[in-house]
Symmetry: C2
């Protein structure tokens, strides 16, 4: 699996990954009716970088990396990751997270923060914990889950050392 | 003191409040060299509302109110507050926070979150705690304070009931 910078030629493949996750509305705080253009504008925002994970089958995952805050907070990175339907559980997210941690270090970021991990997304939380992230905050009832009602979201954080 | 929606005619007064705080770089994660246009575009973003607190002396404070997240997170409000130089300690921030909590309730928000309160900003933390907010997260070293080096930021949260 190769992980490389996304280009405009990857937009269709990225949207094919983003759309079912956004429509399901269970893991990202995004409007379930979000348009392709709005979603790609957010994922591929010009103040960040976006990557695709490519296997023989094509694009199987995508992630973005950007500063989480400006000014005095600009040394902390933020990432989002999505894996293609049918490709979960095969190490794609782990490979993307490893790549993103290396890339964040290279860019001089000194920590990485996930602002809003839905607490019912057990697989993601376990994965990030195994990648060195800790839950540093809990937002009570901050996510209106379409099936479960209001559930907590957690904030996850890890330092980056060289 | 009257608190009312800001208009374009308030831009000069709002910038006069924002500029020294942004230039000091001690409490908001914003670039210290941020331009007036960028700062006003952020404070008065079209997806939110901005208010001014007006006393006999003129505009003595300003705040914004917006959704903190989209989609399943859109029921949680976010606010930022700034008080004019020389007017701190006179209840301006408290009055603005009270106003914002009422306004957030009226708009249907069910909670309010502050994402990034610099841990050395004792006065703000004490004030928000007295207004019902709790520290629900701590981001280690997430803020590069211009005088103190890396300090923690905290996440503060409170439910809104009717």
């Amino acid at each position: 699996m190769e992980i490389r910078l996304a280009t405009a030629a990857d937009d269709d493949a990225i949207w094919a990954i983003l759309e079912p996750t956004i429509r399901a509305g269970e893991t990202y705080a995004l409007p379930r009716a979000m348009t392709r253009d709005a979603a790609l504008a957010w994922w591929r925002a010009p103040d960040g970088e976006s990557y695709v994970a490519v296997d023989d089958a094509g694009v199987v995952g995508t992630y973005y990396l950007r500063a989480n805050q400006l000014g005095g907070g600009a040394h902390v990175a933020n990432c989002g990751y999505m894996t293609a339907t049918g490709w979960t559980g095969r190490g794609v997210a782990r490979a993307m997270c490893t790549h993103s941690l290396d890339r964040a270090r290279d860019r001089g970021f000194r920590a990485m923060q996930f602002n809003f991990v839905v607490s019912t997304n057990d697989r993601a939380i376990r994965l990030w914990e195994s990648m060195g992230f800790a839950i540093v905050g809990r937002l009570p009832g901050a996510f209106a889950h379409p099936g479960l009602g209001d559930v907590d979201a957690v904030v996850m954080y890890r330092a980056l050392t060289r």
